[in-house]
Structure formats: C-alpha cells, structure tokens
Symmetry: D2
Subunit: 346 residues, 4 copies
Amino acid sequence: MYSFRNDYSDGAHPEILKAIIESNDIQTEGYGEDQFTAEAADLIKKKTGSDDIDIHFLAGGTLTNQTVISAFLRPHEAVISAGTGHIYVHETGAIESTGHKVLPVDSKNGKLTPLQIDEVVTEHHFEHMVKPALVYISQPTEIGTLYSKDELTALRNYCSSHNLILYIDGARMASALASEAADLYLPDYRLLSDAFYIGGTKCGALFGEALVICNDSLKKDFRYHMKQKGALLAKGRMLGVQFLSLFAGNLYHKIGSLANTAAGKLQEEILALGYDVQFHSHTNQIFPVFPEQVIAELEENYLFYRWAKESGDNSVIRLVCSWSTKDKFIDEFVDNLKRITQRQQH
Amino acid sequence: MYSFRNDYSDGAHPEILKAIIESNDIQTEGYGEDQFTAEAADLIKKKTGSDDIDIHFLAGGTLTNQTVISAFLRPHEAVISAGTGHIYVHETGAIESTGHKVLPVDSKNGKLTPLQIDEVVTEHHFEHMVKPALVYISQPTEIGTLYSKDELTALRNYCSSHNLILYIDGARMASALASEAADLYLPDYRLLSDAFYIGGTKCGALFGEALVICNDSLKKDFRYHMKQKGALLAKGRMLGVQFLSLFAGNLYHKIGSLANTAAGKLQEEILALGYDVQFHSHTNQIFPVFPEQVIAELEENYLFYRWAKESGDNSVIRLVCSWSTKDKFIDEFVDNLKRITQRQQH
Amino acid sequence: MYSFRNDYSDGAHPEILKAIIESNDIQTEGYGEDQFTAEAADLIKKKTGSDDIDIHFLAGGTLTNQTVISAFLRPHEAVISAGTGHIYVHETGAIESTGHKVLPVDSKNGKLTPLQIDEVVTEHHFEHMVKPALVYISQPTEIGTLYSKDELTALRNYCSSHNLILYIDGARMASALASEAADLYLPDYRLLSDAFYIGGTKCGALFGEALVICNDSLKKDFRYHMKQKGALLAKGRMLGVQFLSLFAGNLYHKIGSLANTAAGKLQEEILALGYDVQFHSHTNQIFPVFPEQVIAELEENYLFYRWAKESGDNSVIRLVCSWSTKDKFIDEFVDNLKRITQRQQH
Amino acid sequence: MYSFRNDYSDGAHPEILKAIIESNDIQTEGYGEDQFTAEAADLIKKKTGSDDIDIHFLAGGTLTNQTVISAFLRPHEAVISAGTGHIYVHETGAIESTGHKVLPVDSKNGKLTPLQIDEVVTEHHFEHMVKPALVYISQPTEIGTLYSKDELTALRNYCSSHNLILYIDGARMASALASEAADLYLPDYRLLSDAFYIGGTKCGALFGEALVICNDSLKKDFRYHMKQKGALLAKGRMLGVQFLSLFAGNLYHKIGSLANTAAGKLQEEILALGYDVQFHSHTNQIFPVFPEQVIAELEENYLFYRWAKESGDNSVIRLVCSWSTKDKFIDEFVDNLKRITQRQQH
C-alpha cells in the first residue's frame, strides 16, 4: 500500500546514499570532528551568508529541540509555543523532562503573532510563575503553513525588545525554502532568529538536522550539551557527509521543490474534482476535505492520517509528499479518487 | 596518518552498507515500526534463545545508557559503576542530568566484584543517602578486560539477592563474544542480566545499539522513554536494516573476530620486540608500554591515545583495532616500531 | 492597612504558639523522628479512621506537591490539572522542574470532571505523547469552590478504572472540612484519594502540611524523596508539635470554621449592599464584583487582590479571611464600603 | 538520655522564641516580602560590610545548597566537593537530582586545597566530561575543621583565575565565627566567596539559613529559583524574625561561643583523663578516641554517633555541643567517663 503518511517513509535520496558509499572507506576522527563535517559546516555558513555562526549536526528533531532549549535556558525559564507545536504535543514531554515548562498558545493556523506572545509575557509577571524566555516556532508549521518575511520580522522585533530567544524548528525547511510562496531565504533565517535548524530527516537524508546558532551569547560549550543529551554521534561523519551532499550543489532545494511540486499537483487535482482543502497549502503537506465514505475507500489502497473532523460527514485528511513521490503515484491516487467519486455520485 | 584511536573511525562494514543500499527504495513505517526492525528483533531473540525479551534499537551508547537508567530508576535511586565506567567518566554527566547519582567504585581492572558492590550497598543505609538500585558494568570493560562466566554469575547472584538491577553496556560486545577468552555467549547475557545492549557503532555499523530488556518488570512503556529522550529515530528502519545484516548470518561475530585477531597479532609482535603490555588483552584494545621517546616517534605516523603514565620514563598507550584493520596496517606499524627500537638502541 | 489578601498574613494561632513554647526545651531526635511527630501522625491516623496510611510532614505546599508528584510518577508520565490549578499557574514550574508535564484542563469553576479528564486521557494514546498518570485537584479549589462527595466519588471511580493516581491538594482543607456546604470528612478523603495533604500554613500553623498517603503502592521510600527535595526539616519536631496541637482537640476544625464564618458574614453584608458575587462561596475566600471606582476607594484602606475583569466597568476582587479575621475588621470594611457606595450614588 | 548527637535537638534559643511570640499578631506580606525580613537583610548587609549583596532566607541547608547550585550552573557544569562534603554524602543526591554531577575529592581533613581542585580541573578538559564550575566547601567542615584566612584566600584566588564559583556552606557558621582559632569574620566571607550561607538551624534558630550572594552575575531572578524549588516560605516572616533576633545584637556570636566553649571544655576534660582526640577541635564538634568497652558503657547513658574505627580496639565518636549544652551536662558526662575509666583500669 502506498503511503502518504509522512516524508520519512523512504531511505535517503540517491545522491546522499552515493556520498555515504563513496566516503565509507575513509578513516576520520569521531564525534563530528571530521573533515566532512567541517566542510558541510563551511558550506552552510556560506549559504547563510556569514562565518559568524556556529553549526552543529544532530541525529533528530526531538534531540535537537531538547538539546537547544535546555542549553539556552536557566531552570526557571519557559518556552512559548503554539498549542499545535511539535514540542508541546508530540515529543512525549522532552522539553519538560529537562525541567522547562512549555506555555501553549491557541493558534488557528499553527503560527504565533507578537500579540499572542505579548499576552503570555504580560501574564507571567512575577516569581510565582515561570519566566517566558524562548519563543519556539516551526517553519513550515506542523500544519503546513508558512511565516512570511513580514510575520517573522515582527516576531524578531518583538523578541528582541522583550529579551526573548527566537528559535525556529526547520524540520521541513527544504519545503519552506522551495515553496512558491516563500519570501524568506537562508540568510533571512540567520538574521531573523537566534537559532534555527535545517532539517535533514524529513528532507531526503537518512537522518540528521543542521543546527545554526546565530546569537553569540548562546554558542558557548554547546558540544557539552550535545554530549550530555546523547546527541554527539560517534561516527559524526555520517551527518557531515549527508549535509555536504545536500548543500554542495542545490540538492536541498531540489528535494524541497520535488516534494512541494508533487503536493501542489495533488492539491490541484483534488480541487479540480470538486473537493475542498482546509487551506490552500504551498508546502509538501496538503489537507483535503472528504466525505467519510470517500476516506474509507481511499484507505483501502493508501496510508495517510486523518487530521480533523469537519462539519457534517466530512473530515480533513493529511497527505504528505516527498522528493520520492513520483508522478505515477499522484496519478494513480487521482484515478482512484475519480473512480470513488463517480461511484459516490451514482 | 593511520589511526588506532578507536573502532569508529571508518564507515560501515561493506555488508551492512549493501543492506542499506538494497533497502533504500522500500517505503516503511517510521519510528522502528517497520518490517526490518521487526525482523532484526526476531533474529536477536532467536540468537539469545528466548522470545520473552524486549528488543529496542537506539542510535548511540550514551543515549542508550541514559534512556535505560532513567527509565529503570526512581528519583532517589543511584547507580553503582566502576570509577573507570563510561557513564561515570565520559558521558558529560548524562546520567546525572536525568537526576541520578553515579557511585564510583575504585577498580584496578575495570571490573566490579560483589564484595566491592556490597561495601557501597552497606554504606548507603538510610534516607539521607541515595539508594543504590542498579549496577552498571561494561563487557568488555572500558579498559579491554573481560568478565568470565563465573564472575558475571557472582554479580548476578549478588544483585538478585539485594534487589539490584544488573545492566551491561555492550558497546564492544562483538569483541567480547568473539574473544578467544570468552566463556559467555548471547544466551548467557540474557540469563545473567536484567538488561544489556549489543553495540553496533563500535562493531561495524554506521551507528546503533540493540537493547535487550530481559526483566519483565522493566519492559513497560519503554518506547515512551525513548521518545522523550530523543532516541526514537524517524527512519528507525536504519537500525533495523543494520542489525538484520549483522545477525542474519554470523557477521556480528566475524566483525568481533577480525578486530580481536588484528589486536592480538599487534600485541604479540610488540611483545616479541621486548616491550611490555599493561595486561594481556583478549579483545580489540591493547595497552603496550613504551618509553616516551618511542611514543613520540610513533606519533609522527600514527594516531592513538596516551593512556597512563608508568614508572620512570614509560607510558601506556592504547591501540584499538577493528574489522577494517588490515594486516598491512599491522605490518607497517610493527616495521615502524622495529626501526624506532633499533634507533633507540644505538 | 488591613489585609484581606490571603490567609497567611499572621503568625500562628495562639494555641499552636503555646505548644511550640512548651516543647521548646525538650531534646528530640531530628528529621521527624521525634515523639511529637509520631504522636501527631497517630492522631491523624485516628481521625481519618485507619492505621494503614502513611503520614509525612513537610514545610510548604509547593514542596509537598513537588515531592509527591515526582515520587509517584515515572519520567514519561504527566499530571492532569485544572488550568487554574496551583501547580499549573503559581509554582514557577516546580512540577516541570522535576521533569513532568502538567496538562491543563479548561475549567470554569476550578473543578475537574471525569468527562474532562477522559478527553485528555483519550487524546494521549501513544508514545509520542506523555502518558497521563495523576490527577491533581484542590479542595477547596484555588477559586474557593468545593467538590461534593458525589463529585469526588465520580473522580475516584474514573481514576481507579483508568489507572490514574488521584491526589488532593488540601492547602485550605480546614476551610473545606468546616464549610457549611461540606459533605466530605477526613475519612472520606482517605477512601476517595490515593494521597492528599492537610494544609497547615493557610490554616493557622506557622508553616507545615500533613501528607497522607493512602495507596500502599505509593508509600515506599517516601522519606528518601523528601530528603532529596530538601523537605526533611532538621527540627522536624516543629511540624509534629504544630499538628499535634491542631488535631489533639478540634482546633483544626475551629480554625476553618472561624475563617469561613468571617468570610460568610462579609459575603452576606456585601450582597445586602446590593453588590454581586462571582459565585456564592462557602469557604474562606469570597469574590465580590465591584465597579472600578469602588475598588479604587477600597484600596485606599485595604489590601486585596484584583481577580478578573467583568463586563463593563466591573471587576472581581478576592477577599480572604482567616481564623484571625475579627468581627471588627469585617464591620469596619462594611462601613467603609457603605460610605463609598453612598458617595457613588450621589 | 542526654544527646550529644547534634546541634538541632532542642527548640529555639529563648531570645528567638521571644521574638517569634512578640511578632505573632502583626499582619505582614507573605513570601519574604515583610518588614522583618527586610530589616534582617539590612542587618546582615551591615555586618558583612556591604549593601551590594543579595540576602535570601531559606528553610534548610539541603534546600539552600540545591537551590543555589541549580540556579548558578548550566546543565553541563559540575561541582567540586570534598568526598566528605554534605552535598556529596548526606543529601540523597539532591544536587544530582537537579542534573549536576558532584566530583568528589579525597580529603583527610574535610578541606580542599587549590592543588586538589586543579587536578580535577585539569582532568576535565573536553566535552566528553562534565565541566567543573563551582567549588563547594563548608566552614566549619563536616568534620569540624576550619579554613584559615590564608587557606580561603588561596581558594578564592584559584577560583577567580579559573572561572570557578566559590560557594561556602555555613550550616555551623556561628561556631566558625566564634571559634578561638578564627581569623575570618563576616566581611571576609563576603570578600572571599561568590556566595555563602549563614546557618540558623544548627545555630539556635527553629530553622532557616541566610544566603548571601556576593557576585553580581549570580543575583538575577534568584527568587524564581527559590519558588521553583519550594523554598519560598508563605510565612517568610518566620525567617526574617529569627535572623533579626540573631543579628540585632550579638546573639549569633553568643550562640556559637556557648557551643564552642562547651565542646572545648568537654575536649579538655577528656584529654585530661588520658584519652586521645582525632584532631584538636576548635568548633562545637569534638572527636575523642575511646576503647570499644568505654563507648559501650557511655552509650548506656548518652546518645552520640560512632564516627570511625581506629587502630586496635579503639573507635572515634562524635560529640556535638550547642548553646543549650549546660555545664552540668558536661560535668555529668565527665563524671560518668571517669567512673567507666576507673572500672576499666581495675
């Protein structure tokens, strides 16, 4: 059964796999002190337009979020996140396990605004409450929406003037960067955040995320935190080799573009068949609305997540595409949906 | 410069790499719920002689130790470890970061005895002190020695009668299993411990450790702990595929055997040249004793760690071999050492 | 300026102070192993109708909540609390600081229902989310409401059938027990919870809370947890002496009754003057609704907290009474309010 | 049976009790924001010779150590302590429970030297090990010895030049200050440490310690940490009132002096009877060496701790005096010992 469940169902993009194979016999230092990792870090510095940033490679998103947040905060400090934020909902309390409260903010579209953050900051005014110190956002968000440059700049300004760290979870950063709706590029993320990560796991790598620390005051001793959290891979080269492959040419952008294009095509075809979408997506996740019976029949041939109940008999499902979602999978799905639709209409 | 620093300088064993390549295009579920992982777990169950164990795959040793110990203990409980134990010395306080004290025991040879443990248990007799609850040992130990079956059985008996969990760090388990001195096999580790892990990272894999939980009372909800610690890899298949490759045939044993044979040959040749070793090793790490001048000259062509000062001008160095340490590297090193030795004698 | 801000503005009730003075010259063991503490525990056992409970005395509410919750839960387990719960809002992340997420439930009246809890339990269905394991409620709640016997029984039944610990924060338990609306007595709390505490600090003591652990499986090693959290007072006798005084006769009930009566009288008089209350309180906290101008004038002579904005120009304030709130303070306040009211009406 | 077990067997010094009684009816703000606490803080500032320090009052030693250390350190940082240090041995892993490793140093006399600290610092040189960041010492030490001004200055200089925080646990500071051997006074502790605490619990108070933070960079948000650790007492006035009483006149010094004088007299008499002491003590704890049979007979009438085995049949016991150890208790003990001694000699 073909799966639209997520963007980590396959192995690595062939070019990445090739890089792993080619480097396999070369001896290197361990723990990220190898030449591949150094070169990958240099490339990312170049592409973000500054040498004055620190790059670290970690093996997964939860590990990255947990290491970053516990390294950046003092014990009484808390994180502000959308209530839909990955750290709030789907990391089994990883942040709290390091001692920090996550303060959820109701958000219809997965995004935060300065106004919403300000409410939380204002409410937490004295030592009987935690002290908000870091704002966590995702780009794209967990529900596929994108911050525009104006929106991110507004957050940046608010955070700067209120002494808050702004941290961006870029698990699907390739999709954000390659989106037709994008007006933010790598150098912007550097300029507009204190730290962000460039996701590999959901963007064609076997695993791995590239953390970029932009704010000088947050850089010190970060490798200690990585080691303490189990995030310093012995064969750290595996991360270097993969990101080298992603950023030596334009593979990272291409992977995002392939995923977005596949999702965009799928969305268009679904709309053309007369169905609705929860919102018009410009990333690699789309959220069509189908009657229950249609969903049930689709489930006979496809794997995907049910997302939310809609009015009446309708529900939203999530379909995720990746670099590996070939045209024929889209075509087959659409054919399938056409047949179901026709049957329903009789 | 050739490196004898450690057994994670290379990529993966070719057979493992092949398995990764062959499985790359197959879609699977994430987070270790794929068919490869299931099959690898079944194989390990078969090789340890029981279905009644839980197998989990994690991405590294520190992550495994930290997840295991924090999952098994209540907040006031502590770990007993040799003072040379990896968790005590070289994990940046990963165990303490989860709230648990590690009680170090002085040990000449890296091993613990029931008598030593009993001293600690007896000393910690009331609620003003932590309560020892888990004994951590490594097989082989951090300094290359091996527990015999009698020694491990004695520990097991002591722990059982004193309500202590016995946990074995098997980062280099392939070397232990394949050692000419071994009288312990996989089923023994299952019978004689509450949990142990079979290391992949230092035994030919790109990364990965297979945790075996033998004690029923420690099994519950373990995947929650993994997720919370960032140890649930999205493409968990990467761990399954590798361990499947290691255990489908006898590759794991072969990898240990290659490493031990290389180290054994190196040790013999060094002894033949009239040098001493700190102790006669039967695993893939050897500890020759050289005069300072010899070490300095070796360092011109080789990478390795200085281990300890000896009497006079002598020091111990550590040389680590792996499955990839070809004969020619041994031969070249020995030739090098011969030349240095001759020069010194003039 | 007289303060209606809280019930811990004064020193101790005179009878408690007397007991402290009388016992001052007697040598005792430290850390709660003295005769006073033993006797106080026995008395509480008697009054709750069972010997089969464990009693511990701790120096404050936050310390008690934190020690209890971190002792009872495993790392991945979480707490369900009303969004107004003290642990969620006003303990500076004390629970999260021990690694546990607190899951807030929207509650209009400060109370939880099985239905609300069930929603949270149902939503948290797999290892990518924390596992709800303990339900935290307060009696009276943080906003002065009371659980009835039926309500508490329903919670108990739900928790029992869903393997959840039910823990009651009784910081103002004296007020709950002495309320005219009460249909729950000490033995009921024992039967209907896994653990609860009988507050001293807000009920006439200098400080101190008596924790009652009812569920056998939660009793083991609790003093270790107390010591680790800094909750084992060297002169533990101070807690024993005070609770002995509170429970030897009916002082605890009397203290609750005095506070409730004062608050009840104040509420009646305010209603009689034509003002509204947010809800009709039966405990020692009342929540009258006043126009902004009235509040401003009251603030010239009294200390109290503004609680919430109401419709139009009105706000809710909180007035707290205690055993020490003499009739004359009530009378003066009412006179004051009368004068302000008359001025406003001109 | 009279107890020489410790210096917290009695209630409060009568003058402190009097202050508590006298202030009992006065309403105050909670959580240490009352007038008594403010006045006590001012007094301590005056006596330490600076306004530029922060004073906080906490309810016990473990709570103070835990709050201080977790507030001052980042997650990967560790504490250096004598192996006999209270935090290392007798606080049930309170420091580790906040995530920080305590690195023990072997010490014959309970004291640390720059040389010993330097060994630990030098050994911990990279990110695979914790980073030593705070040196914990006690004055007097847990075994009754005293740092001289020269010794403390040497530590101060070492710590300053190696970026280490120097923190002094002054649980028995009254005894240190009043010792005939003392050459350190309150202003010296301020100048020579980053933070220290002035113990109340073991120096005549019912409970309470006064923390002095001298280093500006460690002051920020400390009350948040106190609240989070359950160390912000609702009736914080209790701490203010007691320390006001201790420092308004010279009561604190007097309490230390009474305890030292009693212990000194006891030590002299024991020496006069021909027994040895482990070392000549100048504080309120003495460590006489007795044959086993003498100890057994003393135990029939007195409570005290056995401390260590000596050569042959001898053991060291610990006798602790306090401000409440009247002459007659000393005389009786000495008479008792004389009789036992005579019986033994027959």
